[in-house]
């Protein structure tokens, strides 16, 4: 099922175009990395604050509300620049364990953000004991994991 879906993606005219057009893949990859920098900054500003570092003079929920938009839109940019690469190299991705690990953590990371992390960051500060630290630590860990596995797709698959 899944395999035939990936075969179908690989066979799309768009995928053929991506592979044929010399500059298409490099430009998309560069854009993915620029989006990654924007995403990483937005995540880190809040996670460091959750850990009690960084911009501690600014109320956490104010910081989190402001960074929320940046995090969402840079994720959209990551998706928009990631999806074409999945299409054009669908079979390579299908057979790469790192791709599947990356996507699993991306999904867990998103769920974690929209259920727990946001709630903790928007909450009344000081009301949750050590939980903000745990949440900040997990969030940094997950997105770092995503980046490491992502880079390993290209290097080891």
């Amino acid at each position: 099922m899944l395999q035939s879906f990936f075969q179908w993606m690989q066979g799309l005219p768009f995928s053929a175009w991506m592979l044929e057009e010399t500059w298409a893949s490099p430009i998309i990859q560069c854009a993915h990395l620029v989006a990654l920098v924007a995403f990483a900054g937005a995540v880190l500003v809040v996670d460091m604050r959750l850990l009690g570092r960084g911009l501690i003079k600014t109320p956490l929920n104010q910081l989190a509300r402001e960074m929320d938009r940046w995090m969402i839109w840079s994720f959209v940019a990551l998706f928009v620049t990631g999806a074409p690469q999945v299409l054009s190299t669908a079979l390579k991705q299908y057979y790469s364990p790192f791709f599947w690990w990356k996507m699993q953590i991306v999904i867990i990371g998103l769920l974690f953000n929209f259920t727990i992390r946001r709630r903790v960051a928007f909450a009344e500060e000081g009301s949750l004991g050590h939980w903000p630290k745990v949440v900040g630590f997990l969030s940094i860990g997950m997105w770092t994991g995503v980046s490491v596995y992502a880079r390993l797709i290209g290097l080891l698959s």
């Binding site: 500059w23 990395l33 501690i56 402001e66 490491v148 390993l152 290097l155």
Partner: protein, 174 residues
């Protein structure tokens, strides 16, 4: 310059790194992750200067609270980048994007120092207010563009077949 690169290329430690199966993937992966720490934080600092975000945070808060982290990322970035270069100097010597990246980093550094020792001196006057002086905004825009270009040229180093024709005509790698 060329003889320096060739000399490093022949060093036993350079050869050992080059021939190690794990060294390149490890260093490149750490390079990307540390780039996130450095460039991610600097990007929001630049956008604060431009006035795009974090407007309620006093400008001077960011250098004191975020720069130590950004510089840590930068340090790791320099070390892993340096090691990558050290392990394959002759692969990068003829690479247009490598030299472009180094030049862009240099200009970004000059912009940073200029801003810090000139424009930033008056920060007390615009720390909290909304009116950020034109010079500071300009420094922010320049920094954003330059660091993005460093990221792009960094990724493009892998595409040795996509260097500009005029550069290929110089025949530097041969």
């Amino acid at each position: 310059m060329r003889s320096l690169f060739e000399w490093v290329d022949a060093l036993p430690s350079s050869i050992a790194l080059r021939e190690s199966l794990n060294a390149y993937p490890t260093m490149l992966t750490i390079h990307v992750v540390s780039m996130c720490l450095f460039a991610g934080l600097i990007a929001y600092w630049d956008m604060r200067l431009v006035g795009l975000t974090l407007r309620k945070v006093p400008v001077s808060n960011i250098p004191t609270r975020l720069f130590p982290w950004a510089l840590t990322g930068y340090g790791i970035n320099l070390i892993t980048g340096g090691l990558l270069l050290y392990s394959q100097p002759m692969r990068y010597y003829g690479n247009f994007y490598f030299w472009a990246k180094m030049a862009l980093m240099l200009i970004a550094g000059i912009n940073m120092f200029w801003f810090h020792y000139a424009t930033y001196k008056s920060v007390q006057a615009w720390d909290q207010g909304r009116e950020i002086p034109m010079n500071a905004r300009l420094a922010g825009v320049v920094s954003l563009v330059l660091w993005a270009a460093v990221v792009v040229t960094g990724r493009m180093m892998a595409y040795s077949g996509l260097m500009p024709q005029w550069w290929n005509n110089l025949n530097i790698g041969a």
